[in-house]
Assembly symmetry: C2
Homo-oligomer: 129 residues x 2
């Protein structure tokens, strides 16, 4: 992935990507905490720079979540997100939005090529309590 976008393959970058693979979605500060276990002297600037690079070339995606900090994920097929207001967990869900987007396009005249949907509620586990 890195090579495809002319980014050098450094241990730090591999470490960042590895954590992203494991966690799925993670905030900057969490990521910094994790990465320091493997690279105790990594600079926070290095982390920010790399996140930004990878966002620019679309290796990563930022997920903006209502009432909390952004999380980052490795780009994959288009999908939406669900966030639990009790336990804060963030999960993927694949939905077909074609109909609504088509409708929105007709109604507004916009031509859309991206969408970001975050559904907020309570996850199954937290509903029990």
């Amino acid at each position: 992935m890195l090579r495809e976008h002319n980014l050098k393959v450094t241990p730090q970058r591999l470490g960042i990507l590895s954590i992203l693979e494991d966690t799925g979605h993670i905030s900057i500060e969490e990521l910094f905490t994790f990465i320091r276990k493997d690279f105790s002297s990594i600079s926070i600037a290095t982390l920010y720079k790399n996140i930004n690079f990878m966002l620019e070339v679309n290796i990563l995606k930022e997920v903006k979540i209502p009432n909390s900090k952004s999380k980052y994920e490795i780009s994959k097929d288009e999908h939406s997100h669900m966030v639990c207001r009790k336990c804060q967990k963030l999960e993927d869900i694949t939905l077909c939005l074609d109909g609504v987007i088509e409708h929105a396009s007709e109604k507004s005249g916009y031509s859309f090529d991206e969408n970001a949907l975050v559904l907020s509620g309570v996850c199954p586990q937290c509903q029990l309590a």
Copy 2:
């Protein structure tokens, strides 16, 4: 609105709300620029505090937009947003998401009570150029 939530009605707050009424959606920095025309000595801290107060009591809503800063709006009926990547304009659109949300709920077990959808693309005006 303010009184309903036990917030004192101050000229500064009225000014902020008036700008929000006029602009529809606005970022913090834009809002600060505007409000200073009417209240040249207003403190940025006052602005942040008031925005946060009004968010807490749901007088305002924050709209998180991919690749740009959040904008704020006066709460109104549930609706989605469209952002033009050429001219950056942000517009409302009312869509029926009941179907997809119902489907998401069944598929995941979540119970949802809020959604945030932002569609990105090119607005009709910018398509001409």
